[in-house]
Amino acid sequence: MENISVFRGERLVLDRVGFTLDAGDALLLTGPNGAGKSTLLRVLAGLRKPEGGHVLWSGVDALADRSQHAGRVAYLGHQDALKLGLTLRENLTLAARASGGNPDLCMKSLNISGLADLPARMLSAGQKRRAALARVLLAQAPLWLLDEPSLGLDINTMGLLGTLFAAHRQAGGIVIATTHVPLPLPNARTLALPGLNESDIPQPMEDFPEDDLL
């Protein structure tokens, strides 16, 4: 049984956020811009260390061995992370090598098999997003961390995404997604991050005189 509980205390962005998920669960992270949704996902992915608190996987500290944790996680960032000069298939090679998955199968489930040999620079924003989602499938990981997965997707692909989510949860996988629009995730729990008070927002770096910084 997978069991994740997060307790994290950072002074500004996230203040002692905690939750537990079981196999097959889904969690939607909502909240205003700048509330720390993406930051929370990056912590869960092991890309960022929390200033306080722990990420637990089946009761064990997941971030103690981040290489091992990476094998459990499929992370979809804000950016699609595609190399424009490479074809779609070449873009997925590295992820396929890491997980041992089959890129053709994953491209097929997202309806982009026909684009496999096109360079990524020729794809539309929605097609690139689908390619990035194909990489999530490819990772064959139990935990999906998706940062606004619906960005740029058309209605049909949203339906496709719903089937993929359902299949993943059926197999005991967990989906955690940030979103501003409704996602096809039935029975998903929602965690609303409160965001900041105006007075808490730190002064942006750009306000300092440039010469003092370098």
Binding site: L47, K83, G85, L94, R97
Partner: protein
Amino acid sequence: MKFQIPSLIMAILERDLRLALRHGADTLGAVLFFILAGALFPLALGPSPELLRRMAPGIVWVCALLAALLPLDRLFGAELEDGSLDQLLMTGLPASLIALAKMMAHWLTTGLPLLLAAGPLAIMLGMPTGSMVVLLTGLFLGTLILSLIGGMAASVVLGARRGGVLLPLLVLPLTTPALIFGAAALDAAQTGLSWGPDLELLGAFLAAAIPLCPLAAGAGLRAAVE
């Protein structure tokens, strides 16, 4: 764990080489800079063969050092900007090995072409063919050192504003020992002295850089994605 470390490193290398071939102009830029900068010296110093022969080791080494700096800015910068660095880290490969793979890619796409171009440039400057072996051996070690130290510096300044300005300021002082020993070996070869010790020192420098630079670079990459 299904992944295997050597196969992942190979996959990163393959990807970078493929990208380097697709963007051929970027790749050739450093070599063209090397040749052009080297060709400027005879114009500036005058066509005295004796003078050029004496200065050739220094010219080749300094030009190679500066040319290798050019692509460093994009080595990790491009990966950070398009989110690929996150995905590289999510492959489960330790950050220091990702850095090592990128440094190897830098050497293959920049160091190796420089090495190939160094021979013709040295001949053009009138360097005696007898010291060519010393030049190429020294540059082989030197370009490897440059890729390692350059990659380390590139990952340290990653995400910093004006990283591009900071980069040469960080790399050049750290690589001066390589420059000194490399040029000294050539000097010794030209004057008929023993050049072995200089190359051995260069090798020792490389041996220290191979484990240390990827470790530091890995920490830099981790810090950059935070």
